[in-house]
């Protein structure tokens, strides 16, 4: 019985391969986008975790020197002897690789995620002969060292014994920071009494890469979720249609005595099988998408946040399992309604091919209430949400609420148009469009979500880019930046350059804590470069005068927001109080920053000599200056970056962000277009009974086909008009809520009408392309089929 039933059920798919394809392709596409995005996120997060595990970042309090300089090793020993369980860390760059030196015997996490394996020689690890642990890519950058390949090491990082790191980095007897173990002994000396020069940095205050990049991942996840939602619309449509079409089969099978329970089980099992197949295909496709996207994403994260992310993809269970689970879960979700209806269907009910559409109409009221509730929630969240979860809730309620409201709004518009129509043909067109709406609404919702997401995300990214480029113009005002290797070279540069250039601006900073936030304090020279170019978000009337006079301090927006500091508040530095004279925008910087005058900086931090310099010079003179500089002082041209170079690097980072955004934009639009195509295709065959009377009354088949095409484009236009404000609301939420939560700064929102117009055009094109084939099919329906409608009452 089971076998026969299954064969009867499956025979439907063999006779309608297009429907089977729709179902499988929709599900596979949705799963692919979801698991692709998840794969990228999982890879990035794994990289952060490895970094965090290696460095104990964010997990343990740290002790650092108040002036940000490395401490003497004796300081470490003094603390241990005073009963403080602390563990030393030395860090630095060698051949571009971040070298992290730890003492495995005192480190709270040992040497991180590295596992003992063949080739690990404890003796040489411990006794300074130099054994490093790094992943394969990083190991290739350290050809002259003994590197043990350890895949779990953070990308771009090599972990080694502290003694080896000190030697490699030229930091003999120096320690950069001390990790404070969570459990300390009962009796220990007070920290200030042992090491007054150190300050304790709270565990969460460290630059937590994971938190910083949350916003970026949130964007990706939103895309993935959206694509999946769109995919589920497709699957829902395909399943609903298949069930409708199989009503006669179901009626027959049940009339033959098949129990309802078994029938529902078999149809459910059939779908789960399809879901599994499509899920596997989708995960495979997702892997391809992720592999294509990952290098760009990795480059973006590295460029924007300094987060090292592995550029190679690993097959992690976390994302492929979630891909399969969501394919199965999504199918179950999409099919549950259809199976429920099937189980409630009277045994011999006549097959109602339009039942799907009718049911959709009946639930309109419920849908309206849901939309109203969600939109009210989103408006409330707009004013109250802070933090990433609130921001995410805002995005979700806004998008879903708008999607639910879409069919109702379209219905109202069409009703109004119908009322205004004069000719019979026009009245029929509007009425027919309106009654088709329930069948198309899922596809149109998908289009709405895809377009709104595209408008929102590209507005955010473009606003970010515009702001950032402006900001670079202000900030990188010097034509040339030179990095010297030490104070001697710095002095040589000053001697050489002073008579030749317009101005030399030393760049020097100290790492400090302000109100518990890690902050870089810059000592800045009084020059018009700063006075003319820097833009303040709020300030006293003369912020620069008082700051260069050594009385006040300027802070960036991140520090202002995180520490709750504003103009007029007082910040102590090295025991001296400074009043905040201004808060400036500082985009792209993960940590706090503050500016004081050059002279007061030298007084407070006498140990820090400037090694980087900004040089004001006629841009045309740069090449000559550089070659003369090298000849006179030995400062190589590679030690300098001209402003154009820095800008080019920054912009290329944004180009990569755009590549990722554009790729995802195109994919979501394509999925939405596919949804429209499938909806129209399935509707086409059902619509013959509705079109036959129009044909019988004298409309030609080609007229009917053209009207079908027009109808699809019209609906797409209406959807696009609703998508635009929705997308802008989305962009606002991303910029004003999500960004502030994730980065600590708010971005101004810019509008890009040309982009939106182009996007609208694409959407119309997608809709038209999707409608073309079904319209042609309608136009070519054999007259015999149309006639059959009248002879063959069902």
């Amino acid at each position: 019985m089971t076998r026969v039933t299954l064969r009867a059920l499956l025979s439907h798919w063999w006779r309608n391969p297009m429907q089977l394809f729709t179902l499988l392709a929709g599900l596979a596409l949705a799963t692919a986008l979801w698991s692709g995005v998840q794969a990228v996120n999982a890879e990035a997060r794994a990289s952060y975790d490895a970094a965090a595990a290696t460095l104990g970042e964010g997990q343990y309090d740290r002790l650092i020197r108040r002036d940000g300089q490395p401490m003497d090793q004796a300081t470490y020993i003094a603390l241990r002897r005073a009963g403080w369980l602390v563990s030393p860390v030395v860090q630095g760059r060698y051949n571009g690789v971040r070298i992290v030196g730890v003492d495995p015997l005192t480190a709270p996490g040992g040497i991180g995620p590295i596992e003992l394996q063949d080739g690990t020689d404890i003796g040489s690890f411990f006794t300074g002969q130099g054994q490093l642990f790094a992943n394969a890519d990083t190991a290739a950058d350290l050809p002259d060292l003994t590197v043990v390949v350890s895949p779990n090491t953070a990308p771009g990082t090599a972990v080694t014994d502290i003694g080896v790191a000190q030697r490699l980095l030229g930091k003999d007897n120096q320690i950069d920071s001390l990790l404070v173990l969570p459990r300390q002994p009962k009796t220990q000396a007070a920290l200030d009494a042992v090491v007054p020069q150190l300050t304790r940095q709270q565990a969460q205050a460290g630059s937590d890469i994971g938190r910083l990049t949350d916003s970026f991942h949130l964007n990706l996840t939103a895309f993935g979720l959206l694509s999946f939602a769109v995919g589920i619309f497709i699957v829902h449509g395909a399943i609903g249609l298949a069930f409708e079409q199989r009503r006669p089969v179901v009626r027959t099978l049940r009339a033959l005595g098949l129990p309802l329970r078994r029938l529902v089980l078999l149809m459910g099992a059939e779908l789960m099988l399809f879901a599994l197949v499509a899920g596997i295909v989708g995960v495979a496709l997702g892997y391809v998408i992720a592999a294509l996207l990952l290098p760009d994403v990795a480059a973006t994260l590295r460029g924007l946040y300094g987060a090292d992310v592995s550029g190679t993809l690993q097959l992690r269970p976390v994302w492929w399992l979630s891909g399969l689970a969501i394919a199965l879960g999504g199918t179950a979700l999409a099919a549950s309604g259809a199976l429920y209806k099937l189980s409630k269907m009277p045994l011999l009910a006549a097959a109602q091919p339009r039942a799907l559409a009718m049911a959709a109409g009946q639930s309109a009221r419920l849908q309206g209430i849901g939309a109203a509730l969600l939109l009210t929630l989103s408006v409330t969240l707009m004013f109250t949400a802070n933090g990433l979860i609130g921001g995410f809730g805002l995005l979700a309620s806004l998008l879903i609420g708008a999607a639910l409201a879409l069919p109702l709004i379209l219905d109202r518009i069409l009703a109004a148009a119908s009322a205004m129509a004069r000719s019979v043909k026009a009245q029929w067109f509007w009425a027919d469009t309106r009654q088709q709406l329930p069948g198309l609404s899922l596809a149109l919702m998908a289009l709405l979500l895809a377009m709104a997401a595209n408008v929102g995300v590209s507005t955010m990214v473009s606003s970010f880019r515009l702001t950032f480029v402006d900001f670079l113009d202000q900030r990188l005002a010097s034509e040339l930046y030179v990095r010297t290797e030490d104070a001697t070279q710095g002095a040589a540069l000053i001697d050489f350059a002073t008579p030749r250039v317009d101005a030399i601006l030393p760049i020097q900073n100290a790492d400090v804590q302000i109100a518990g936030q890690p902050t870089e304090v810059y000592g800045t020279r009084d020059h018009s470069t700063y006075r003319d170019n820097w833009v303040f978000l709020q300030s006293t009337p003369t912020p620069w005068d008082t700051t260069f006079a050594g009385q006040t301090i300027l802070i960036n927006e991140q520090l202002s927001r995180r520490a709750g500091l504003n103009v007029g508040d007082v910040i102590p530095l090295q025991g001296q109080d400074f009043t905040i004279a201004g808060v400036y925008g500082d985009y792209g910087n993960p940590i706090g920053q503050a500016v004081i005058g050059e002279d007061i900086f030298a007084t407070l931090y006498p140990g820090i000599a400037p090694e980087n310099f900004g040089i004001r010079i006629n841009p045309d003179d740069v090449p000559t200056f550089l070659s003369e500089l090298e000849a006179a002082t030995g400062i190589a041209a590679t030690q300098s970056i001209n402003q154009a170079g820095i800008k080019a690097i920054s912009l290329s980072i944004f180009e990569r962000t755009f590549t990722v955004t554009t790729a995802l934009n195109i994919l979501t639009l394509a999925v939405a277009g596919f949804a429209i195509l499938m909806s129209l295709l399935t509707l086409a065959s059902m619509r013959i009974p509705q079109l036959a009377p129009a044909w019988a009354m004298g409309m030609t088949r080609s007229q009917i086909g053209k009207l079908e095409l027009l109808r699809a484009v019209l609906l797409a236009v209406l959807t696009a008009m609703i998508a635009l404000p929705l997308g802008l609301a989305l962009a606002w939420a991303l910029l004003a809520v999500v960004n502030v939560a994730a980065f600590g700064w708010q971005l101004p929102m810019y509008l890009f009408p040309a982009d939106y117009a182009r996007l609208g055009l694409f959407a119309l094109l997608a809709a038209a392309l999707a409608a073309l084939w079904p319209a042609r099919r309608l136009a070519r329906t054999p007259p015999a089929d149309l006639l059959k409608v009248f002879s063959n009452e069902r």
Partner: protein, 344 residues
């Protein structure tokens, strides 16, 4: 890989390792104890870097004001990867400190690990100081100051010697197996001790007797020896007994004992003279450990029952073992300390 794993690698405490904590492993280049030693003090109170393993091992039986018995341990182990000392982080010397306080119903343990060469841990012979972090044992061996601190306990003690150093085995050359493995081994078992225990329930002033062992070697166990049971017993009549029983994979034991009179005269007894028989085991930390023993030394008419004051005195450290205070009853009454290793 964590620090623990590193230590375990270093002192291979795995199925493949030889003996307990790798102490049966042969390592080239290290010096080997020779018979007829001549000790040179205070130099020999300091480290012997050309030997692989060495310890400064203090245990004490204490009483509180209400007569409650307590046990105390302060130990510094030195373990070398190479028979030398080098500057800074290149030092092949590793240090491990264990501190413990045992009450009748609690056992507090703490462990510290350190590298040699940087000053975090070490031992200086003159003036004598042994330390790891803030844990110290220092003084002139007539009087010693001792401290240790952990998240849940701490102590500060003063030790006063009331007798001479005693040398085990053949004038300090202590044979450990029939195959001739040996160590240098001497003790100061005559310390009076007084100080304060800081426990979660509050500070407790205590007094009692302490026993400091010094031992160093490079391969103290034969490769078929898997652990030992070690007794340091102080009888009420002033005599003391040090005895150990080494467990062998062939099911036999190797025993050794030193009888110490109240004025510090010693008599060494060879294999077989001492017998130690488990009477009762206790399940602690997932394994059965004998916590009641019958100890016999017929040559001195000793036939006593040794019983743990707290049978859960398990040292959950990198290298785990049992170490705690005991009571002695039978032919002689008294108190002492029991150490048991190799109970995996």
């Amino acid at each position: 890989m964590n620090a623990k794993a590193l230590i375990l690698c270093l002192l291979p405490l795995t199925a493949t390792a030889q003996g307990f904590a790798g102490l049966g492993t042969e390592l080239e280049g290290f010096a080997v104890p020779q018979p007829d030693p001549v000790f040179d003090f205070p130099t020999d109170h300091g480290p012997h870097n050309d030997y692989r393993i060495e310890w400064w091992y203090l245990t004490a039986n204490l009483q509180g004001p209400d007569g409650t018995p307590y046990g105390l341990q302060w130990t510094l182990f030195r373990s070398a990867m190479a028979p030398e000392e080098r500057e800074d982080w290149k030092s092949p010397q590793l240090w491990m400190g264990h501190a413990a306080v045992t009450t009748p119903d609690h056992h507090y343990v703490s462990e510290r690990l350190a590298r040699g060469g940087v000053g975090q841990a070490g031992v200086i012979a003159d003036p004598f100081a042994a330390w790891i972090d803030d844990w110290t044992l220092q003084g002139d061996w007539e009087t010693l100051q001792m401290t240790a601190s952990a998240p849940d306990f701490a102590y500060e003690m003063t030790l006063t010697a009331e007798g001479p150093l005693v040398f085990h085995g053949d004038d300090g050359y202590s044979v450990k197996s029939a195959a001739g493995q040996a160590s240098y081994y001497y003790s100061q078992p005559f310390f009076r001790i007084a100080g304060t225990l800081q426990l979660p329930q509050g500070d407790i002033p205590v007094t009692g007797n302490a026993w400091l062992d010094r031992e160093w070697s490079s391969q103290p166990l034969a490769d078929n020896q898997t652990g030992w049971d070690w007794f340091s017993l102080s009888f009420d009549d002033g005599n003391k007994l040090m005895g150990f029983r080494l467990q062998q994979t062939d099911g036999n034991n190797y025993t050794s004992a030193t009888w110490i009179t109240a004025d510090g005269q010693t008599t060494a007894y060879p294999d077989g003279a001492l017998s130690a028989t488990p009477l009762d085991t206790h399940n602690t930390a997932g394994r059965d450990v004998p916590v009641r023993w019958q100890v016999q030394l017929p040559a001195k008419d000793v036939n006593v029952t040794v019983e743990a004051i707290n049978p859960d005195a398990w040292m959950a450290t990198s290298i785990p073992y049992w170490e705690g205070p005991v009571t002695v009853t039978g032919s002689h009454a008294g108190e002492g300390y029991l150490e048991m290793t190799g109970y995996e």
